[in-house]
Symmetry: C2
Subunit: 336 residues, 2 copies
């Protein structure tokens, strides 16, 4: 008794009532007399009693917890999405259990398994690298929603993402309006999101009658890859670069400046994502901003809805990204 935690029984004896009444009082039932309630509250305080969530979840067969898998905590994009998720689920009385994928996709699966053992009532996957088969199995088990990807259609699984094709077109439109036509795209490598952005670029270029200027340089989603891709792109003397994401765009700017060209005077650069550091004065990056927190909030909403409607048809929601004009794009100067 002295060493281990007090239980509901200890509270009951101390308050001179039954454990059932304590349980009732704890869950805020109205059918408890004021006198009893007061005695219970006192006993709780005196003993430092705390409900055991494991026992509770066993008894009610609900964990009031949702699991969140986040691909990479370092990527500020994901942190901001997570924010939205947390706010939304908290409002509905849920806790979150968070795991971050790390390098190994196989580990990602194991971690999800842990989450499921904890009987999470829903799963939010903020990006992921799971094959369709695994996704299908998971979604069949527990309400699941995927954020930032919508390439794998699974019954009973919702997705929330921005429309990357439309976003890319926004970027190209902006550059065209500034007078650019030699617009090169530094792509983000082999992943569905990057493919969609590249497609949007090609589409927009074609629509503006610039199809002969279409040039996609293979890149990646990191600073270093953006730098390398930009170095290569410069060979065809573009006047503007549309880069697959913000981090790579920052790398690209460094490459441009290293070649003694100025941004945006000589070359305009626009990124994609809208990560908060893009707003740092030193970077001041023009970008296509995803409404990150909204993405998270919406995802959580879908999941919460699905908890009560397990068989609801799959929702694939797209939210639109917006152009954020900062300092790295400018009007084309006719080179003398």
């Amino acid at each position: 008794m002295s060493t281990s935690r007090p239980t509901i029984n200890d509270v009951a004896t101390r308050a001179g009532v039954s454990k059932s009444l304590v349980s009732l009082a704890l869950s805020g039932s109205t059918k408890v007399s004021d006198a009893s309630r007061q005695r219970i509250v006192d006993a709780v305080a005196e003993l430092g009693y705390r409900r055991n969530a494991a026992a509770r979840s066993l008894a009610v067969r609900r964990s009031h917890t949702i699991g969140v898998l986040i691909l990479d905590l370092h990527n500020p994009v994901f942190a901001e999405i997570l924010d939205g998720v947390q706010i939304e689920v908290r409002e509905h009385g849920f806790s979150t259990m968070l795991i971050s994928g790390g390098a190994d996709p196989e580990l990602e699966r194991a971690e999800i398994e842990t989450l499921l053992q904890f009987q999470v009532e829903g799963l939010v996957l903020i990006a992921h690298r799971l094959p369709a088969s695994v996704l299908r199995a998971i979604a069949a088990d527990v309400p699941t929603v995927v954020v930032t990807r919508d390439d794998i259609a699974v019954p009973n699984m919702d997705s929330v993402s921005n429309d990357d094709v439309a976003g890319a077109r926004l970027a190209v439109n902006h550059l065209v309006e500034l007078g650019h036509s030699r617009i090169v795209h530094l792509d983000g490598g082999e992943n569905p999101v990057s493919h969609a952005r590249a497609d949007g670029y090609r589409l927009a270029m074609t629509q503006h009658g610039l199809s002969e200027h279409i040039r996609v340089v293979p890149g990646g989603l990191t600073d270093a890859k953006g730098y390398a891709a930009a170095c290569e792109a410069l060979s065809s003397s573009p006047t503007a670069l549309f880069v697959a994401n913000d981090v790579a765009a920052i790398g690209a700017i460094a490459a441009v400046e290293n070649s003694n060209l100025r941004v945006p005077e000589d070359i305009s650069v626009i990124g994609y994502d809208g990560i908060s550091i893009g707003g740092l004065r030193r970077l001041n990056l023009t970008t296509i901003a995803q409404p990150l927190a909204d993405l998270g909030r919406l995802a959580a909403q879908h999941m919460l809805y699905r908890i009560n409607n397990r068989t609801a048809p799959a929702v694939r929601q797209h939210v639109s990204a917006t152009l954020v004009i900062r300092g790295t794009t400018g009007r084309l100067k006719t080179r003398a």
Copy 2:
């Protein structure tokens, strides 16, 4: 049966053994015959059985989960510390339950309460804003370790932090070696960490015989505050700025450049923390880097040790930060 999850009993009947044997097999006991084990493994697969962590934790009275409170997920410093924590605890078979503080310190407390209800076996507080009294109560209840702060001494509570005074001296030493003497410190506002860094600055300046050049400009830990503080600092035409953290340093650089001065040619700037974005080529920030992942790993180690040694004396560990020289500091040029 059809709708709800299979239990250990379902597996037992299916495999034609007792639930006890299933339990044994699941926990990898050697006292299970190969024949039985195989049947159990098959039954598990066929039924899609998954251990119920809540029931398990209730029975063994251990949750194998540790709670992590992270002040602010957006701050890359904390994300990197978290990484270290995760790696370490995972190796020891623990899961983590993560909560992020958000704006309201009161909410922080409530979230910790949730964590405790889940019977977490330990708590890692990655920065926090809790008063000593609360800290004391928590640490008395559950093994707790604080990262990046060591200003509040509580029995049975460990802390791991970098020595901010020493780190600040490293920064000043570096600048002095480059020939600077008009070194201004942009501080980080009213918090223990920033105070320590300012103290270190003053100490080092004095030791170099530069006490008459000591100047501390009130700032903060954000881009905007760094910018503002730098603007003010420029009035005394310094040759170098030592800024309280990296994010503010990036803001300071923007301010310097806006005044048509170049970094590092006209003014050197050094930050503190070693966040990964400081390494972006476009920023290329010289800084005092805390070994962030190590901080997390060590914290987890102390906590894991304390789980088995509840009354171990409090450890207050300091790890040393290191100077990372990049492109924002340079040798003083004697202005012509």
